[in-house]
Symmetry: C2
Subunit: 337 residues, 2 copies
């Protein structure tokens, strides 16, 4: 993995040798972004299988159930994490997998397939999403949803990247995305790599540019989408969606169907992770305080954007429009599981 | 003045000996907050009078006009600045002021009166505003509007302080207020002094807490209010007002009538200062970059909150409700000019 906590100051690749280390890396946000967390968790399960001393498949399955618990506890909101872990657990079941080493190999294969599929799926979403864009558009983007947040290519940022490759010359207003500054640190860094025009803004300023008529479209990713289309995404997404709606600017979430949790009827049922207050009280990777010593803080990592504020949800199976309740389920069902 | 750029890390008082130095201090935000800027500008004019070599009142008036230009150019959005400068210019006119040293003295008197009045006016607003609050309420507060932003006591924070002194035990969710972190640096520091319970949140998180039903009321200040009630205030206020409205939480601006600019029909006509991108690209007073080297940024310092999103405007002459066009004018006219 690339240690995303250090960018843009330092590019460092790190590797892990146990499931517990992977879970820690997810929890500490060495790796972040729902699809990237999903792939990391799949490899975490594969690592658990490789490092387990189990002598038969039943023992290995018991170790995998324990590993699944450790990984799923790392971050509660992103659905791709449990989606990937559940796929790996499912792979370990069934009568066809009696040889323990064959089971280990098949689990590693599946993890690799989950990772490879992610890139393919992202490119499909990017094509659908870029089809919505006209040349010369200015878009607002929240958090980081690029190659760093996925296995490669990206979700919302993948759409912008595809539009750029199609010669549409998009311009991006990059929400800095407090508290962890994924926008100014990671998205800006990616846009530099791709040669896409951008300006960083504070999250507070999105409403200003929307109200001035300077924004054509908003693209965000998602950490979990409920069956009714409510979107759990990085904190601040809800206020951004309100500002887009107040100015009649189209607002799209770009999400693989693996992020859609049909078992959750609406956003209010999605658990919201509350992270350490220190992320608010000091600035990422610098550690210098920006508040009085001893100050209290609250740090919810995500919020819920009600489906009524969402123009469309871009999936690998096409752009889904309201009624989301019906159309989202249909898009999910089109994906092979 | 207290150098507000250094808090909460360091408390340092600074003094200035020329109008130009005062203008620079306003521009660099050594002093900030619309009422504090107004008082500082009045003393800047008084300083210009004291340091002018003018031998008669006509020469002094010419120097004061030049000083007014320098001060008014420092920050374009805050109306109190030009309000105070205009009051000082008006004082210098008229046949009664022929003795140049008498004129110098009367200008210093007026600056002191503007400063003294501000404290009195703030206490009146605080009483009106605290009357809106019930015991045990949680309020969201944006930017800094306390003693640091005024001559003393504060506007929106003054309301909260009054409610606290009345034993209503308010709890404050403090918007950190990027880019300059007036919330986490200054408001939290003030609340510590007053012993008021608070938690710092990122600006992004306000919508989350509002949607969870954890907020009873929102109080903000203003830098300029148009005749129709549109409020220019610290960047992010508009999105906060949208989130309050979407959750039926009352949203109040707390503003002295000296902040109301009846010559401006609506918010779209208020000039919005755009400050240096470096404020977005690095963190206040630390200077360490939080974005790739060479990254571009935009930095509007204020936005416009349309009057349709505002429940009421608390002035020293009472709480003004819609229709603002009518009732705001009436409140302004009640103040002696």
């Amino acid at each position: 993995m690339i240690d995303q906590r250090l960018l843009p100051g330092e590019y460092r690749e790190v590797s892990f040798e146990s499931c517990t280390q992977v879970a820690e890396a997810i929890q500490r946000m060495v790796v972040r972004g729902a699809p990237a967390i999903g792939a990391a968790a799949a490899f975490g399960m594969a690592l658990a299988a490789q490092t387990s001393p189990a002598g038969n498949s039943d023992e290995l399955r018991a170790d995998l159930v324990a590993a699944a618990g450790i990984l799923q506890a790392a971050r509660p909101t992103a659905f791709n994490l449990s989606w990937a872990v559940q796929r790996m657990l499912l792979e370990s079941e069934g009568p066809a997998r009696e040889d323990v080493n064959q089971l280990r190999a098949s689990l590693l294969d599946l993890a690799q397939r989950i990772a490879d599929d992610d890139v393919q799926i992202n490119r499909q979403m990017a094509t659908h999403g870029a089809g919505l864009m006209n040349a010369g558009e200015t878009v607002i983007h929240h958090c980081n949803t690029g190659a760093l947040a996925t296995v490669d290519w990206g979700t919302a940022l993948g759409v912008i990247r595809m539009a750029h490759e199609q010669g549409k010359r998009p311009h991006v207003l990059v929400d800095e995305t407090r508290p962890r500054l994924q926008g100014s640190r990671l998205t800006a860094w990616e846009l530099d790599q791709y040669g896409i025009s951008y300006e960083i803004i504070t999250d507070n300023a999105a409403g200003f540019f929307l109200s001035r008529g300077e924004v054509d479209r908003v693209f965000v990713g998602a950490d979990r989408v409920a069956a009714n289309g409510d979107v759990a995404n990085k904190i601040g997404t809800y206020m951004l969606a309100l500002a887009a709606r107040d100015n009649q600017v189209p607002f799209f979430a770009v999400v693989p169907t693996s992020t859609v949790d049909l078992s959750v009827a609406e956003g209010a049922q999605i658990p919201i992770e509350e992270r350490d207050p220190s992320e608010v009280l000091q600035i990422e990777a610098q550690g210098a305080p920006i508040a009085p010593a001893g100050a209290a803080a609250r740090n919810p990592a995500f919020d819920i954007t009600p489906h009524r504020l969402i123009t469309g949800i871009v999936t690998e199976n096409g752009v889904v429009y309201p009624p989301f309740e019906l159309n989202l389920r249909q898009a999910v069902m089109e994906s092979p599981s």
